[in-house]
């Protein structure tokens, strides 16, 4: 056999080997440290109609093309919401020199529209990170989105005139992929490091 033929076959076999390893790696289910990856079970998010912290319409199309972390809460929540938003801000900061952080946007969905006007929301989310987006909407529209994602919340309010009240809500963070599908979730207690590792793994593989 000619020397050049042997070299060609060797290169070809190496190429095929690397390619199959790469494909196999892509097919393996992703196991996360801090969350749950839905893989092929990712499901399309139905359309919804909310407004962002500038008072502009915010719907399904606004989630196209980037990975989104959706967290449901309210600004008058002193403990869990600031802790979750701070963890996400710290997580993005920890990977700020990678392309991964540019591929992710954090969206805070306020389920307390009476107190969380766009102006309040803007002040609040941008305190944690200037790139964070706050969205809210009518009770009906919020219910519709929360229901399709499997998020529950409850306003502990006896009447609409009551100004001081607490809100119970799911503390999970929902991961939406760039095709606007529900792709995974992270559960409390959140770890900055574990979330950064998981998201890097997911985004580099997809």
């Amino acid at each position: 056999m000619k020397k050049s033929t042997i070299v060609f076959i060797t290169i070809l076999s190496l190429g095929v080997g690397f390619a199959s390893a790469w494909i196999a790696r892509g097919l393996q289910p992703i196991k996360l440290e801090a969350g749950l990856w839905l893989g092929d079970n990712a499901r399309a998010l139905p359309d919804f109609k909310l407004i962002d912290h500038n008072g502009e319409d915010f719907d399904r199309d606004n989630l196209q093309g980037k990975w989104h972390l959706l967290f449901f809460g309210y600004t008058h929540c002193p403990d869990v919401c600031p802790a979750s938003l701070q963890t996400m801000a710290d997580m993005l900061k920890s990977i700020s020199d990678s392309d991964v952080s540019n591929a992710i946007r954090v969206v805070f969905v306020s389920v307390d529209p009476d107190r969380d006007t766009p102006e309040v929301l803007k002040n609040y989310v941008q305190y944690f990170n200037p790139g964070f987006i706050g969205i809210t909407g009518t009770e009906q529209n919020l219910n519709q989105l929360a229901k399709t994602i499997g998020i529950s919340y409850f306003l502990d309010r006896e009447n609409p005139e009551q100004v001081s009240y607490l809100v119970s809500h799911s503390s999970s963070i929902i991961l939406i992929n760039p095709s606007v599908e529900y792709a995974g979730l992270f559960r409390a207690p959140l770890s900055t490091l574990a979330m950064a590792e998981d998201l890097t793994k997911i985004i580099e593989r997809n």
Partner: protein, 142 residues
């Protein structure tokens, strides 16, 4: 004259230290307040409380000149939902440490009377059921 004022001040400081030592049997460390933008009318406070004595201590009240009211709350997860419940009094059993931390027990500090920023220090007093109080300083953190 200045000397007399200084002596008086020194005696006061010593007296306060003595009273503090008497009334502060619990070792409180890492006392901090999560900073938030002024648009939010409440803050959460955290700390670690160590009771190395042989008697339990019960915190029945928390006060500060910087906040309208301070309550003790606990974030509880039930059926996937986080909710907050007030704790009327917090018991630190003898020889134990209770940690107030994000996602658990915390101080619910309502309506700051001044704009707070990271690095600011806030004095608060803890009231115990035996009638004693303990003054401590909490640091506002990012």
């Amino acid at each position: 004259m200045i000397n007399r004022q200084f002596q008086l001040l020194l005696s006061l400081i010593l007296l306060m230290l003595a009273l503090g030592a008497e009334a502060a049997p619990l070792n409180i460390t890492d006392a901090w307040i999560k900073n938030l933008p002024p648009v939010v009318p409440m803050r959460a406070g955290y700390m670690q409380i160590e009771n190395s004595s042989d008697t339990p201590y019960r915190i029945t009240g928390v006060e500060s000149e910087v906040f309208t009211t301070i309550d003790i709350h606990e974030s509880i997860e039930k059926n996937g939902m986080m909710s907050m419940q007030p704790i009327s009094s917090l018991v630190i059993e003898a020889g134990t440490t209770v940690k107030l931390a994000p996602g658990g027990i915390h101080l619910m500090m309502m309506e700051p009377k001044q704009v707070l920023k990271p690095g600011d220090r806030v004095n608060i007093s803890l009231e115990y059921d035996n009638g004693s109080t303990q003054i401590l300083q909490m640091t506002v953190r990012q």
